[in-house]
Amino acid sequence: MTATLHADIARLRRTNPRIFTRPLPERLRTWGLWLGFVAVLAFGLWWIDASPMRIVNGLNKLGLLVTLMIPPWPGDGLWDYTYAMFETLAMAFLGTLIAFIVALPLGFLGAKNIVPNWLFHFGLRRFFDTFRGIDGLVWALIFVSAVGLGPFAGVLAIAVGDVMVFGKLFAEAIENVDNKPVDGVRASGGDNIHVVRLGVFPQVFPVMMSHVLYFFESNVRSATILGIVGAGGIGLQLSDRIRINNWQEAAFIILMILVTVAIIDAISRRIRARLI
């Protein structure tokens, strides 16, 4: 029984070699890729000077920090923290709103089906892509230098960072509209403005709102850290507490951030479900 089975397998292996072993070049390529991957990883680990000793020492210190954090306690800064949290929310709200208002016309200009000029459309898209590569925190640094410390710099940083992404997303949403309503408006004698207002806008508005809400959530998260470079909000308080080694209050602020983010997420999920 087993003998015949083995003979069968041997025969199959002879007749269909490709099922049992992949061709040599393919195997070599796979191994080469893995080798390269491991080599880069090893180089990276060497570069950052990762040694087990360091990890153990650091973890010990981290454990100490955690014991210092318990119990989280606001001290007498509760009101300051709450106000800073509102500042953070305000930065995210205004930043997202401004980005939306600015990106709306840009999105229409960047859409192929609204502005058929290839060069213009390509240039605008590349412009968006270029500035998308810059982290929000870097924008915050720049605006703190340009307009001074405070939440206003944070608002501008969030707005500028988001305009680029919104512009791209809106343009894509507009390019994906169904053409039938557009043709309908045009057939009943509407001009270009009518086409955009009545044919395109009702289709893309829910998509846009969903993006905007999503970015509001994500901006609340990023606004919590903008304060580290002086752009207002809860991040300033947090980095201060960490700098002066007040770990109980730092832990309290981190908890505040977690709770706020959870609340904002829940609210925005509700609104999104209603809109779409």
């Binding site: 981290l62 509102f86 305000a90 307009v147 501008l156 580290i228």
Partner: protein, 303 residues
């Protein structure tokens, strides 16, 4: 009259006018509730707007004054490049190129090692965090909450704490990125796991496989292309994030950018930013090409 209307079977007591009237009333009522909801949302929005403007000392004059200032600042960072002396000017602009390239490599390495480490943790945590793969709801709950915690605490906060515990330098940055990546990738991986075909899982179980075997042979082969695609996406995001970590002393080019901005070395700012933009664009384009080969064009970028 109480006879049946022969054409539509309705009681003739409801005449056309009455029916129209009741329709009209219902329409008006619905419009009324709708308008009320719109008004309520509008009022809430307005309240939020006013509150936000008050708290963040945002003002139109401030904006009018601030935007040109910001624009001048950005213009000021551009170097003077002249045509007749182009190469010398360029060399002058990029006087620190060797140094910056080293930091840039460090930034990419932080992103890479952080993504790999985070990916390993995410993979380990994603199985217990998948509804269809664990029976014990306690384990599921714990894994989910843990991922949520990793994901919600901002990367930079982890970096601040890790710089304190592990010392200044890229090591703290890698750990911060790894922890945050573990949180966000873990959730995505778990979602992939929850969508796998259950038949291979049952096959492995029926042939006597234990839990790790089921995961290795029943789940991973199906989910691998999705894992890889999400990993690449995360790598793009993490290189961008790594460029900011230097601001809190966690290594990479951010450190130098921070110094340049703080000390008003204008042309250095634009030089470093340009390098950063070029690097992130190259990585984005490469990763996107690989992702499309791996999985087709279905996955779009999630921020």
């Amino acid at each position: 009259m109480s006879t049946l209307n022969p054409t539509n079977g309705r009681l003739a007591s409801t005449t056309r006018d009455e029916r129209l009237l009741s329709f009209d009333e219902r329409y008006r009522q619905q419009q009324f509730t709708r308008r009320n909801w719109t008004l309520l949302y509008g009022a809430l929005f307005l309240a939020a707007l006013i509150g936000a403007v008050a708290v963040s000392d945002f003002s139109i004059p401030g904006l009018v004054k601030g935007l040109p200032m910001a624009w001048n600042y950005i213009l000021g960072t551009f170097p003077t490049l002249t045509l007749e002396n182009f190469w010398a000017d360029l060399a002058d602009w990029y006087w620190g190129l060797r140094f910056w390239l080293r930091l840039l490599v460090e930034t990419i390495l932080i992103g890479f090692v952080g993504t790999v480490m985070g990916g390993i943790i995410a993979l380990a945590l994603s199985f217990p965090a998948s509804r269809n793969l664990v029976e014990n709801s306690g384990i599921y709950f714990a894994a989910r909450r843990m991922l949520e915690f990793f994901r919600t605490v901002p990367e930079l906060v982890f970096a601040l704490i890790f710089v304190f515990a592990f010392g200044l330098g890229p090591f703290a940055g890698v750990l911060a990125i790894a922890v945050h990546t573990a949180g966000s990738l873990g959730k995505l991986f778990a979602e992939v796991n929850e969508n796998v075909d259950p038949r291979p899982i049952e096959g492995v179980r029926a042939s006597g496989g234990n839990w790790p075997m089921i995961m290795r042979l029943g789940v991973v082969p199906q989910a691998l292309p999705n894992y890889a695609s999400y990993l690449l996406l995360r790598f793009e995001i993490n290189v961008r994030g790594a460029s900011a970590l230097g601001l809190v002393g966690a290594g990479g080019i951010g450190q130098d950018l921070y110094v340049a901005i703080r000390q008003f070395e204008y042309t250095d700012i634009s030089a470093i930013m340009l390098l950063l933009i070029l690097t992130t664009s190259v990585i984005d384009i490469t990763c996107e090409a690989i992702r499309h080969r791996l999985i087709g064009h279905t996955l779009t970028q999630v921020a």
